[in-house]
Symmetry: C2
Subunit: 471 residues, 2 copies
């Protein structure tokens, strides 16, 4: 690659070229770059590795890890200095992280953890095996260890675990100038990045917040109490999904986390929330499909274990629904076309039920569906089910009649379809509502139940009507 | 509610009581509060309405609108002043917003739009009917109109539409002190809230960014060029899903948006991104279920229209899969138990396919699945399918044998299950990968295709094997 440039530009160019090569336009890793890293690792070419990794950010290196073999990952570790290692560990998928953590010496890990926010460091420590956890904590300075231990005392997936303990607070009676001067003086004690200064009363309870950009442009003499805005307090025990909902709804950038007494103990920032939202949505998609994600690096047996339980439950429900058919074996022997048509009725019901279910789960998650409009929603779904059922019944009934010239068969099929789509819509709306009312996740286990209902109804309605009308 | 307090506290107490009443602990609207608002609207009690709405934030009022009837919503409008109206319109679901916009006078709307960020205002204008759009734009000041028209020139769902044009930029050669003094002086021209100051070269191209909190604590003499950090530039034409991915991956709070020449034209902030992520994830859930969301306020016919197309496609695929059964009517007449067992084979295949599909769609969305590991992933899925199939085959085969004492039937059923789960895993992985490779959304239409494959394979494999082995 011949370029007219001096040496300095060459180095920068090389880095930029590598950067362009590493990630393609939609930020997916380029297979060629991954191969280059793997080759450099195989050759033990530290110089080349430094060059290649230099083109990447910590988030990209973490991503790259996911595309390397376990051996290559392990070999890559010594090439990362503690600060970068901390950032990388922070971004790793959990199953790769567990694997990596086993191969990092306690001392190195303690150093890397010291570079992280307390919430992230606590997450990593929580992932360690018990004896390693003790070693790593012992290798950390007292203050950092205490912060991590306090964070770990909160329950998983709560605001307490999500929050960082580092906050910037100022007393009510301070002016803008006093606050700014204080921050300049105490520079080293401030969090690396912050968006709001929380104004606190003498008991350290937040009474308001001043966005940093407001602080910057306000008059120095203005009292904080005058320019502060109301805050949305997050109780330390609040579920992280709830916290994410509040951030999304009120467009928050950061929010103070308070203990039961109202005392400020930390803050949640929006960048943590983006991760939570991604996580919760992904969980919904997977839960609706009856699967938990074993992760991209999971072994075959890990995946089998993550999927077999639902398949076993589905075997039971499918067998139960199919057992209805046994009662109609006589009819099927007399009229084999029934066996051909009955799966169509079941399948369409299953589809309609899944549609309603997905809409209801989404609406529940966004609080658009609640006690206020539950009855109205169910009624509307029943109407929709009946109308869709009627439309399909007329259409398919007509097609069937054109084929078989059998009015009874067409009638039984059409009526069964109408009934099944009605029941499907009802089940698709009621099942997630009932799970939600019972305090359960409406996405988990609802689809297997709805499919059972629609299979059962489909078989029973069609075969039953056929027996009544035709035989 | 008797309290020992003076008059002032009473007013505050009332407001807090109403606030507590309006939203329950998990921020869902309380039916009683919604009824109170509807009653006040019916009575035309402006005083009471002011009281009730005063307890709510704009986001809550928008949410409340979704639970009111169309008539009540219309009556509520005059009770909101322009600024609040703007905030509320901003937060409304799109179908309710369209309805509301018809009932607001162009002048009022122009005033409300003036209070919004340019990106939000452009979204609203875009929703207006053509003649109303012209009226509203004509009623706006020249500068605001121009900003909105520029934003609307960018394609929907791109960074250009998502960004706000208001940015804070400073030349490279400024010091921290110069920048702060400038911001204090030009206070009125600054955006309401900002998180980063973009450092630009003489051609107004971003060369770095200084987080506001760093500005606050840096020495006044420090040159911006010295304390600035690298920025991730967003091309103005980038798809919003891509932008969201970058924000999530690199934990960005704001990012500069640049024109093709590299000139800074706006910024995207993380609060807009949270909305995009929610939206895109919800779309995935719905797309996998073969439904588009018509919204909570949609009429019955709107919902029917949103669901019937997929049901019609499903009718065709279900009929196609079931047509396989016709070739085996003779076998079914001879052995009716085949009709009972065949839906179980199809159903389990459908389930396994849906599991693989959901995992693949999620992995593609998070870039965990890409060209680098596509082959490895498909191979792994096939192995998992074969293993799950074998496990279920042995188990169900044994149960069947215990019931019917027919080795051939158990063998046919088990083998068919093994084949179908293998094919299901293959289809569940390949279909979304192929759609993604073709530049299509892997969540849309993949489930209907996978289900067709597993139904077809299930029927054919089981009935075919039964015909070979048993008859």
């Amino acid at each position: 690659m011949a370029r007219e440039s001096d040496d300095l530009t060459d180095v920068t160019d090389l880095e930029e070229d590598l950067e362009d090569l590493a990630l393609d336009d939609d930020y997916a890793f380029n297979p060629e770059f991954v191969r280059m890293v793997a080759d450099a690792l195989d050759r033990g070419d530290a110089e080349r590795l430094r060059e290649l990794l230099g083109a990447l950010r910590a988030e990209d290196i973490a991503d790259l890890m996911g595309f390397l073999s376990a051996d290559d990952r392990e070999e890559l570790l010594p090439h990362l200095d503690p600060e970068l290692l901390g950032d990388v560990i922070n971004e790793l998928d959990s199953e790769i992280r567990e694997d990596i953590l086993e191969h990092v010496a306690p001392d190195t890990l303690a150093k890397a953890l010291g570079e992280m926010d307390s919430d992230d460091a606590a997450d990593v420590v929580d992932d360690l095996e018990d004896d390693k956890k003790a070693q790593v904590l012992a290798a950390m300075p007292e203050v950092e260890r205490a912060a991590i231990e306090t964070t770990l005392a909160y329950e998983d997936e709560t605001a307490g675990r999500l929050m960082q303990r580092e906050v910037v607070a100022a007393p009510q009676f301070w002016t803008v100038g006093q606050a700014i001067d204080h921050f300049r003086r105490e520079e080293d004690d401030l969090p690396e990045l912050f968006f709001d200064v929380y104004v606190v009363d003498p008991s350290y309870r937040p009474v308001g917040a001043v966005p940093v950009s407001h602080l910057l442009r306000a008059r120095r003499e203005a009292p904080l109490a005058q320019i502060m805005e109301p805050v949305t307090e997050i109780p330390v025990g609040m579920d992280q999904e709830e916290v994410a909902y509040i951030f999304d709804k009120y467009h928050l950038i950061s929010a103070p986390v308070v203990e039961p007494g109202g005392r400020l103990v930390g803050q949640v920032t929006v960048d943590d929330i983006v991760g939570v939202i991604q996580e919760e949505r992904e969980e919904d998609i997977l839960a609706l499909a009856g699967v938990s994600d074993a992760g991209r690096d999971a072994g075959v047996f890990g995946i089998v274990r993550s999927r077999l339980p639902w398949l076993l439950i589905n075997t039971l429900t499918a067998a139960l629904a199919a057992s209805v058919i046994r009662g109609f074996e006589g009819e099927i022997v007399k009229l084999a076309i029934l066996a051909v048509l009955m799966p169509i009725v079941a399948s369409l019901g299953g589809n309609a039920g899944t549609q309603t279910l997905a809409v209801a789960v989404r609406a529940l998650a966004s609080r658009e569906l609640s006690a206020v409009n539950a009855m109205r929603t169910v009624t509307r779904e029943m109407t929709v089910g009946a109308l869709n059922g009627a439309a399909l019944a007329v259409l398919t009934g007509a097609v069937l009649y054109a084929f078989f010239r059998d009015g009874g068969l067409s009638l039984a099929f059409g009526l069964a379809l109408l009934i099944n789509l009605f029941v499907a819509s009802l089940a698709g709306a009621l099942v997630p509502l009932a799970l939600d009312r019972a305090g359960r996740d409406p996405a988990v286990s609802s689809s297997v139940f709805v499919t059972f209902v629609t299979d059962f109804t489909g078989f029973f309605a069609f075969l039953g009507l056929a027996a009544l009308i035709l035989l």
